[in-house]
Symmetry: C2
Subunit: 143 residues, 2 copies
DNA sequence: GTCGCTGCAAAGTATTTGCATAGCC
DNA sequence: GGCTATGCAAATACTTTGCAGCGAC
């Protein structure tokens, strides 16, 4: 089962960094995976639903940020509206509508090595590089 | 003089889109150019200083956003802390510290054409593409 | 003279913080 | 059993909105 494999990967990632495995972490992660799209902390909270009746907002934020640090989800800030969390952690890029803030995935092969190398030269410890394309989404462009 | 040339470019950009040329727009733009680095709306407001004693925060936001739409400055959302405005509008990339939110410029040649083309295919009207490298900045990496 | 821009005040929302309790290791 | 994570509540900070008056064209 897909979910089971994803769970085990998370458990391993948590343990590897000395973090505890808690039901909140497992279920928040699973909820975002099941949503299968960029979601806000609120949406993830709703998606967890009754599986954790006392789940609190700060826990959702803390957990999603931790998942981001572990590299199993990605944090996106559209510059418009609330932060988004992306269940995909593989290499892909993003398209951000500068009017409505909508974010879409873009799969394209782009060689970002030069930027990463320049980042290292600047003293940074890069963990990830992606292309962000800004412009107008289909619905904003037509209006 | 550099400032003078930059002013004229702004006036032209404003007129071309039917916007009015106001002292607020001219001075906010000039203040950000003089700062010469990524700055928050607050910092820009301070940088304008006494040149416009009654300048208000909403005007600063509205103006910087307009300058962003005109393509003369760039809006950056670090995902941590307040929005930043970048006086550079030429092609360059960004490095974002995932711990402290610091943003630095990266000059590197990256071919983003594939991502832009994919964006168009997805129905977007792209206006800009840049690489965002996330990781830890020098000071956060050492602590 | 008209319409857009600015200033003021205020609201709204997202996100973070502090602290006591619960529960993982 | 110790120490981390969670839940609850509240605070903070940023950014936006509504409206009246001013000023660019």
């Amino acid at each position: 089962m897909e979910t089971r494999r994803s769970d085990e990967a998370l458990i391993e990632a948590l343990r590897a960094r000395g973090h505890r495995v808690t039901p909140q972490r497992m279920l928040i992660h699973r909820a975002l995976q099941e949503l299968g799209r960029h979601a806000t902390a609120d949406e993830v909270m709703e998606a967890v639903g009754g599986r954790l009746p006392n789940l609190s907002v700060p826990t959702v934020y803390a957990t999603l940020d931790l998942l981001g640090q572990l590299g199993v989800v990605r944090r996106i800030s559209p510059g418009e509206g609330p932060l988004l969390y992306d269940p995909r952690a593989d290499d892909h890029h993003h398209l951000v509508c500068s009017r409505c803030g909508r974010v879409e995935d873009v799969d394209a092969r782009v060689e970002t090595g030069a930027a990463v190398a320049a980042a290292r030269r600047a003293g940074f410890a890069p963990s990830h590089a992606e292309v962000v394309v800004s412009g107008l989404c289909a619905s904003c462009a037509s209006s």
